[in-house]
Amino acid sequence: MSDIPVFFLHGLVYAGLLFLISSGLTLVFGMMNVLNLAHAAFYMLGAYFSYSLLNATGNFWLSLIVCPLLLFFIGAAVERFLLRRVHVYGHVQELLITFGVAYIITESVKWIWGNYPLGVNLGGFLSGSVNLFGLFYPIYRLFMFFCAILISLIMATVLYKTRIGIIVRASVDDSEMVNTLGINVPLVFTGVFGFGAALSGFAGVIAGPLLTTYPGMAAEILVDAFVVIVIGGMGSLVGALVASLMIGELQSFGALLFPKLSLALMYMLMAAVLIIKPSGLFGEEQ
């Protein structure tokens, strides 16, 4: 069956998208102990910003740079002016404020762009297909996968080879100790939160031309991203990577083999992992 390689590739592409979103989500959770319910709303904003920018300029490459940058500043502002203020009141309040931000973004999107799906047509070589060992595969999906790999490699290099990376990993372990070592941890939080929002926005930009851009897209992918970080282990980037691949393939083959069951399959996988290892595949035991 020639469907199998195609769906395998589809799975990889979706895994790449999921990793771009869940890596920021899991890093923020690991550092700040905040489950950011607005994280997928940043993804959606990325897609909508890109839609408008494409309409205005027609330049997709510009969109790939400008939209994540905008999301970085939006994310950093949310952390600095909202999250930091409610931090003293505890986790429930932090969760609520991210829920509020997600709600406001979703309603604003409906108000500005309308409550219906929007399509993006890229044209150019990205909309063509390429012959992969006798299999015609859309160039755009390969491009998405390539972007995800590139970003992951950059992220791994920063995290494991630079001082900033050491600081971020140490903050995931124990941010209070990092603070006592003379590092401006509040600034690190703002930076990582903004960076996570930018990655999520980047995912939105590249998802736009493939998936439809509509006000429910945030809620839809948020569920998958949560499952990814729970399976991978909260706070673990390696876990997010492995779980993204699992969920990406599961969703893809689920859609092929048991179209009605793919959501149930995902929850079953999550339950199975949690029974065997409650902290997730790569999570630290609490």
Partner: protein, 237 residues
């Protein structure tokens, strides 16, 4: 005075833990804060470090007020913090743990001792052997050395050290105490919390005893040895 803690009151939410604690340290002194479990010793150190913000009182370090500052600002002024339970970064290697101790910032205190990673490895050869091991995989003694060494990397003028010998084997306790006196010899003042005074009496210049969030005794080793009633009442179980 290098450090002057004056009448501080610290709380966790509504529970009032420190009831007007005052203590002081001169440059290069090694002072030991004793007292039973739960009397507020760690809270006193955390109050100096800015992890707990006292609601009343004053903490001066080199004449500058610390209350209201973030821990990272206090660290940059020249105070190092070695917490209880060691708290190395478990997923970082020993070498990365040490790199985390390097202090950068505009208001860095001038470093007198000039600790560098090479000097730290010379002083702690055991750590050099394990430099690529994850913090989580080190022994208790190695973790204690690593937290102290990590703090030294920031070249502090004052180190706050919370129960450095807790849970260590007796031979390692000796090593740790020797290491702390050596650090003091190099000119760093140390405020150390301990539960048993027998371990610390040989190395400390002065002692404070805490009970129920208040200082109940202050004096040198001789005074503490002489004050049997104080020891019975506040230290022995």
């Amino acid at each position: 005075m290098l450090l002057e803690v004056k009448e501080i009151h610290s709380y966790y939410e509504k529970s009032h833990i420190l009831h007007g604690v005052s203590l002081g340290l001169k440059e290069g002194e090694l002072v030991c804060l004793l007292g039973r479990n739960g009397v507020g010793k760690s809270t006193a150190l955390k109050s100096v470090m800015g992890i707990v913000q006292p609601r009343k009182g004053s903490i001066l370090f080199g004449g500058q007020e610390l209350i209201g500052k973030e821990p990272y600002q206090i660290s940059r002024m020249g105070i190092g913090f070695v917490p209880e339970d060691r708290r190395v970064f478990p997923s970082l290697t020993a070498n990365e743990n040490l790199l985390m101790g390097i202090r950068r910032g505009k208001n860095e205190a001038p470093s007198k001792q000039g600790w560098t990673i090479e000097k730290v490895y010379d002083a702690f050869p055991q750590l050099k052997q394990r430099k690529n091991s994850k913090g989580a995989h080190l022994s208790g003694g190695e973790q204690q050395m690593l937290t102290v060494a990590r703090t030294l990397m920031g070249n502090p003028e004052l180190m706050l050290v919370d129960e450095p010998t807790e849970g260590l084997a007796p031979t390692i306790v000796k090593d740790v105490l020797k290491m702390l006196s050596a650090i003091r010899e190099s000119g760093v003042a140390i405020l150390m919390v301990e539960q048993n005074f027998k371990a610390s009496i040989k190395i400390a210049d002065r002692f404070y005893i805490m009970s129920k969030g208040q200082i109940v005794f202050e004096g040198n080793g001789e005074a503490l040895e002489a004050a049997e009633d104080v020891r019975k009442r506040y230290l022995e179980v």
